[in-house]
């Protein structure tokens, strides 16, 4: 197991280096000027600014410095927020995206598993049809539409209730997170529901379920003790990519709900050509993705005895 993790970590590091390089190249191909501002700048001042950000050096040297700093975990100073380091920005805003993402994933996973199981149990009957219709709608409606509808929903709820039941936007308490997380997790929930349903159906026709029935176990017992656990396994494998997709894909939700997450910073940074922030967040997210996939792989090993006991070290 240790060897397995070590190997994966190493390949993860190479992957991160690749991401860093790709970002660096993409960044320097981008037309436009990160230092430009609404007011024209004197060449002398420009030179000073270039020196501050190291843009005066040849590109290869910039690359070496950039990779070197990155290895020390230093992403430099933001171009737009002049007295903030990218590290600080990530440190302050990523946890928000992460909390939101984790909650969204939790909602998505629990919802996906529950709905998926229900649809499989009631296969081809009305609960199946209703849920699958909703699932299809959720995967087919763009997230930004849901975000807006979600906010309007809260607003109308509050107005109907007479006082603020849920905050319309903002960040801080659990109530703030509820709707954004729901909106954010909806697509993934729909995806997981589909996955869970087909996985459940596959399990339902599995021989060991027949065995369990032949043993005279009650349907409820069969469902919980035999079907669910086996059906969840394939669902777990996609959680790694899902959490990455959720945490990076949250910027519309962050924007609409005024959540100070990292995703929003990234989009702003792109629009402002804030080199250091763009590079920092991209590399950070890349590393996060790599890590998440690894974590889920290890987690999967704990859930599936075939991997835990069987092929340790593979």
């Amino acid at each position: 197991m240790t060897q397995f993790i070590f190997k994966r970590l190493l390949s993860g590091l190479i992957t991160i280096w690749f991401i860093a390089t790709a970002t660096f190249v993409a960044m320097h191909v981008v037309p436009g000027d990160p230092l430009a501002n609404a007011k024209a700048m004197k060449p002398e001042i420009r030179k000073n600014l270039e020196a501050r950000y190291g843009l005066d050096k040849p590109i290869t040297q910039q690359y070496v410095i950039y990779i070197g700093n990155m290895l020390q975990g230093d992403f430099g100073i933001s171009f737009t927020q002049k007295n903030r380091r990218v590290n600080d920005i990530i440190r302050e805003h990523f946890p928000i995206s992460a909390v939101l993402g984790v909650l969204a994933l939790l909602i998505a996973a629990i919802g996906g598993i529950v709905w998926g199981a229900i649809t499989a149990v009631y296969r081809d009957r009305w609960p199946d049809s209703v849920i699958m219709f909703l699932v299809v709608v959720s995967v087919s409606v763009p997230s930004f539409v849901f975000a807006m509808l979600g906010q309007l929903g809260i607003l109308n709820l509050n107005q109907w209730w007479g006082s603020s039941l849920l905050p319309v936007a903002g960040w801080g308490t659990f109530q703030h997170m509820l709707m954004p997380a729901l909106v954010l997790g909806l697509g993934t929930m729909a995806y997981l529901t589909r996955l869970m349903r087909s996985s459940m159906l596959e399990v339902t026709s599995a021989d060991y379920i027949r065995t369990a029935r032949a043993k005279g176990l009650s349907p409820l017992r069969i469902f919980f003790k035999h079907q669910l656990r086996n059906a969840i396994l394939p669902v777990v494998t996609v959680l790694g990519p899902a959490i990455a997709a959720i945490t990076t894909g949250g910027f519309v939700v962050e924007l609409v709900f005024a959540i100070p997450g990292l995703g929003r910073y990234f989009v702003q940074a792109v629009q402002q050509l804030d080199y250091t922030v763009i590079m920092g967040t991209t590399v950070f997210y890349g590393a996060f993705l790599v890590l998440m996939v690894l974590v889920v792989d290890i987690l999967y090993g704990f859930i599936d005895p075939r991997i835990r006991v069987g092929k340790s070290g593979a």
Partner: protein
């Protein structure tokens, strides 16, 4: 119902009919099957794939998916009690305790994410109301009894850590957990290699001797039949075409299909030093069963009558019946020789 009726059969099935509704139409998978097996006896249910032998027994167990499956009519008496049409709860009380079943592929028949011991103990906990600890201890005993070495340790392992033969033993242990009076074994050895097959079969016989339960052995391997069975029922296209004692079937075959089956089975054919001859053609379409005998189009003995009329169940001997017009009193074959030797001979006589 031709068996001795002097004592109650462990399981007797009467005129069971099962349909499956599919997109293409209704398949009459089982068309009036009657069977019976006595305590301590082994009934072998023989036939080629798709002939309805598994469906028959699964229907009895209530294991066919409903829908698309449907038991149209018939009855199945388990120790004198009707089990067809039982409520799911009642059926669950019977399954696993009075009647249990083991399946073809032990690898897939066990839950891959649950320990072997737990899977066996589960039956005991449900049917006997045992506490988990007791049930687990009993599971170890059962494993031990099915000749699994280091049973206590093995009980804590997962299916993928077992070999095929071991798994089948574990499955048998699970099936036997509550001392059922009927054990249905659906091709229990097909997925195993030959040496293991023998061990498993031996184990089953041994346990049968000790417990006196009835076994319904579903198989297409006549070798297994010869070793294990007391009674044999040959099924074809959803019907029992011949049934009788193992000697009746092997030495006094009264249906051309049984004969064809024998000639296509290597183990039997070799014993007879005869040539291996596959049965030509394929079984009838059960979406629309032919008006006559289902075997008609493949039968070398076929007569005009066979095409238009279903053969009746005709008694050949005491306890030996055949669903073939050849056994009719007007049939020329019947008049010359009751039992069929082989196709060539018959044609020679013709």
């Amino acid at each position: 119902m031709v068996n001795q009726i002097n004592h109650i059969a462990a399981l007797s099935i009467d005129d069971l009919r099962v349909d499956f509704t599919t997109e293409g139409g209704r398949v009459q998978a089982v068309r009036g099957v009657s069977l019976s097996v006595n305590p301590g006896e082994t009934l072998a249910l023989v036939g080629e794939s798709g002939c309805g032998k598994s469906v028959t027994m699964m229907s009895v167990m209530g294991l066919i998916p409903v829908p698309p499956g449907r038991i149209v009519s018939g009855s199945a008496m388990l120790n004198g009690r009707e089990i067809i049409g039982m409520s799911p709860t009642e059926l669950n009380r019977v399954r696993g305790s009075e009647i249990s079943m083991i399946f073809q592929d032990p690898m897939s028949a066990l839950n891959p994410t649950m320990r072997i011991g737990d899977q066996i103990a589960e039956t005991l906990m449900v049917h006997r109301g045992m506490a988990r600890g007791d049930a687990l201890a009993r599971a170890v005993q059962l494993l031990d009894r099915t000749r699994i070495p280091e049973a206590a340790q093995r009980a804590r392992q997962y299916p993928f850590e077992f070999s095929g033969g071991m798994l089948q033993r574990a499955v048998i242990a699970m099936a036997l957990a509550c001392n059922p009076s009927v054990l249905i074994a659906d091709e229990p050895t097909t997925a195993l290699d030959v040496t293991i097959q023998n061990q498993v079969l031996e184990l089953m016989r041994e346990i049968q001797r000790e417990e006196g339960m009835a076994i319904v052995l579903i198989t297409h391997d006549l070798g297994v039949v010869a070793r294990m069975a007391d009674q044999v029922a040959v099924m074809y296209a959803g019907q029992v075409v011949e049934s009788g004692s193992v000697d009746d079937i092997f030495y006094r075959s009264a249906h051309p299909y049984t004969l064809g089956l024998k000639q296509s089975m290597p183990s039997v054919a070799e014993a007879d030093h005869a040539q291996l001859t596959p049965i030509a053609g394929s079984p009838p379409d059960l979406f629309a069963p032919p008006p006559g005998c289902g075997y008609c189009s493949r039968c070398s003995h076929a007569m005009q009558l066979c095409q238009s009329r279903q053969p009746d169940l005709l008694s050949v001997d005491s306890g030996h019946i055949s669903r073939c017009w050849l056994q009719h009193e007007l049939s020329p074959v019947r008049q010359s020789d009751v039992y069929l030797k082989n196709a060539a001979e018959v044609h020679g006589n013709d």
